[in-house]
């Protein structure tokens, strides 16, 4: 075991000064040290994407990044998407299109889709499908996730 390192994680605009072992993943630090449990851990080897968050504008798998690597960076998680009671267009589209069932993979899909569309708002439907193939869902068969993300992409372009 190694000594703990002091770092600051800026999550949804709020600074969390924490001390972590260098081996602690960003996912664990967000959930356990910062108490933001909306980010879920599905596989811890970077395949399922449930833990996707946005780090300095890019969607990242937080299980593949050490917390110390995110020191001082701007991190966005699912808790920061809605504005009070007003859902983000992506959240609203997921609800309107029944794009979630158990809801475990949902935060990862939301952060993936939002992170990508903020960088490339005009992404084609086919490219979006490739992007969405980077995360796993076991409930929806992806039908309504694809539909919701396409609908939200239109809304976000407005």
């Amino acid at each position: 075991m190694s000594d703990k390192v002091p770092i600051t994680l800026k999550i949804n605009g709020c600074a969390h000064a924490i001390s972590v072992e260098p081996r602690r993943t960003l996912a664990d630090a967000i959930r356990e040290d910062c108490g933001q449990t909306g980010t879920h851990i599905g596989c811890e080897h970077g395949v399922c994407g449930a833990c996707t968050v946005i780090v300095d504008g890019a969607p990242m798998r937080s299980c593949l990044m050490f917390a110390v690597q995110a020191d001082g960076k701007n991190i966005r998680t699912v808790e920061g998407l809605a504005d009070g009671d007003t859902l983000h267009p992506m959240q609203q589209a997921f609800m309107d299109n029944h794009a979630l069932q158990c809801g475990f993979c949902t935060p990862g899909f939301l952060m993936l889709a939002i992170g990508v569309l903020e960088r490339e708002p005009d992404m084609s439907d086919d490219d979006l499908l490739d992007v969405l193939s980077s995360n796993l869902c076991r409930c929806t068969g992806y039908q309504n996730i694809v539909k919701a993300v396409r609908a939200a992409a239109k809304e976000m372009r407005k």
């Binding site: 596989c43 811890e44 859902l87 158990c102 475990f104 490739d130 969405l132 193939s133 068969g141 039908q143």
Partner: protein, 777 residues
Amino acid sequence: MSVATKGSGLTWVGRAIRRLEDPALLTGRGRFTADLPAAHWVRFVRSPAAAGKIERIVAPDDALVVTAADLADVKPITPMLHKFEYRPVGQPILADGEVRFVGEAVAAVVAASEEEAEDIADAVELSLADAIPIIDARDALAPGARQIHPSAPGNVILQSRIVTPEFERIWKTAHKTVAFDIRSRRQNATPMEPRAAHAAFDFATGRITLTCTTQMPHLTRTAIADVLGMPERDLRVIAPDVGGGFGQKMSLAPEYVLLVWLARKHQSCFAWTEDRRENLIASFHARDQSIALQGAFDANAKLLALKADIVSNVGAYSCFPTTCGVEPLMAIAELPGPYDFCAYDCRARGVLTNTCTMAPYRGVSRPIITFALERLMDKAARAFAIEPAEIRRRNLISKFPYKSAAGLTFDEASYQETLRIAREATDLPGFRKRQAQGRAQGRYLGIGFATFSERTGYGSPAFAARGMEITPGWETVVLSVDPSGFVEARIGSSPHGQGLRTTLAQIVADQLGITPDRVKVVHGDTDRAPYGWGTFASRSLVICGGATLMAAQKVRAKLLKLASHMLEAAPDDIVLEDGEAKVAGTDRTIPIAKLARESYTQTYRFGGIEPGISETGTYDPPGTFSNACHVAEVEVDIETGRTTVTRYLVAEDAGRIINPMIADGQVHGGVAQGIGNALFEEIVYDENGAPLTATLSDYLTPTAREIPQIELHHLETPSTESLTKAKGLGEGGGIGAPAAVINAINDALSDFGVEIDEMPATPQCIRAALRKAETKA
């Protein structure tokens, strides 16, 4: 929601309203087991060997490490069947003297953090005297095979046989017979949320609260209390938000028992979350089955008789509560499917091996038996030179009630109609033309049909027929209106993604003339919900929905009685709508909230009516059959063996649909899992019993790329065997897809004379079949 429907006269049932579950889940405010903080973290040391005696376990100094030696007072998990020559086998909470599969928990390490627990677990020394493991069921059945449990001679844990009268005579009248073997490889349900448990001791009451990823909280409480010998009242089980289950979270995990044991012994709070590797190798597996199948047909391609030998590899132990009979017994009872014939000779055996324990997974055996039967239909169609859709038309049942060759009674359904709809929607002649054009260009397109029944919503008699010591079936719902006029439905079902909070609220809203958002469904907490069996087997909307309707009808009657006092009118003249009780044809109204309030606070006004509003409904139905016809179109790349599903169509009938949006979602999800089961998903063991598919890069569930758009066509044949007239549909998508997809692959490759009779039909499997065909040619 309320504004749009005020006075509209529409019912809530039948409408695609948005889910009441969604806002919390979309904003990161869902509550999952692994979200809870804990004082101590648990890590399990798991066996690296598939079989052998434990010689020594050495823990690092000062570490808290629990082994079987500490658990002398804890009973093994020993599920029981009283039929089918079942041989009970016990599963110790931690391996006791012997290990029986790779991944079996041998010791539990406790530390202040997850990381520290992992470090200590890595430092535990485990000495095993390896034995030669038995991985394949055929090896387990071989004469002289090593016995995995002393109580199960020949490694057969149960067997069943059905032979209908005059089988041999009918068989001999056959014009043609078709014989082949099919094989389903081992699969894992793979919910996105791994299993987790959190047990906390409460000093004030001496009780323990176990929060865990379960589909059946009450039975988890009963089972753990039995195994630990503790009063059930001292254990509260909570299933919070559960991230998918698909059957895997139905069976009792020995790890949960250990967490409660730790919380009791050390009077503290303990947590465990498995990692994905543990889930893939040591949770529960499914579907490892082979069937030797023979069908006898008359000159008109009408099935006369079916002969089958089913061998189910059940793994190292028997799962609680269903027992490992769940797969072989489902197979023998439902293999005849929705086809009209009477001669049936079938044997089914459950066989123990040194592999992870088998448990229910969405569809339970029916993806396999449907695959077997639908391959039979396609092979016979080829033998008779008719279209696959046509042979199904000739054989599907169409008169109801129908008693199957295995003795099941089918209620009214639409087997012929769904086939007809699917046939028309697919434009078969057009497809055959495209297929021929494709072949001319070296592209191999295929089409596959699967018609099947999905037995759903069955109550206790169906489980009793299996001789189960634990006989689930009924459900109870307690429905109350509180003094503020809000409604609470406390239910024994335990949804984990199925949207039951919404659909039950729709059923209640119609009965009470209120909007669904005024109804809160409480589930997954043994302190709050009435005893019930949880959510599995496509049962919740049928059984819990029926119990909800019964309770709501009683509450409605009570509201009418109260209103009749307040409005001075006969109950028959009063209607409940828009949140009010109204005297029909007048402007005399009273808010339902006021009725509720006064039922508690002004009881003296109601002349002896019992105070408050709380009613109970309990429902135990016989069961009903949903049905569907699935059609898959595929393209197979003969160079790489890769299959692309290019079109998928479902014509299905689940009786009355309560919420079409949710119903479609269930079918979509089932089909996607079925396509994964058909093409990609396989748990592979090497010859030493070491699992080779221990990550999600090796065990391949489908992504958005692999699932085409799914076209749905609904029929609604209201069930006479279900109070809400709804049938279940949670499993059907997954039942039909492997058969439809692999039939399509066979159709695509028909020029090569190959027969793909195994699932998943991976690229390796397809290439092997093509190579074999080339060598033969």
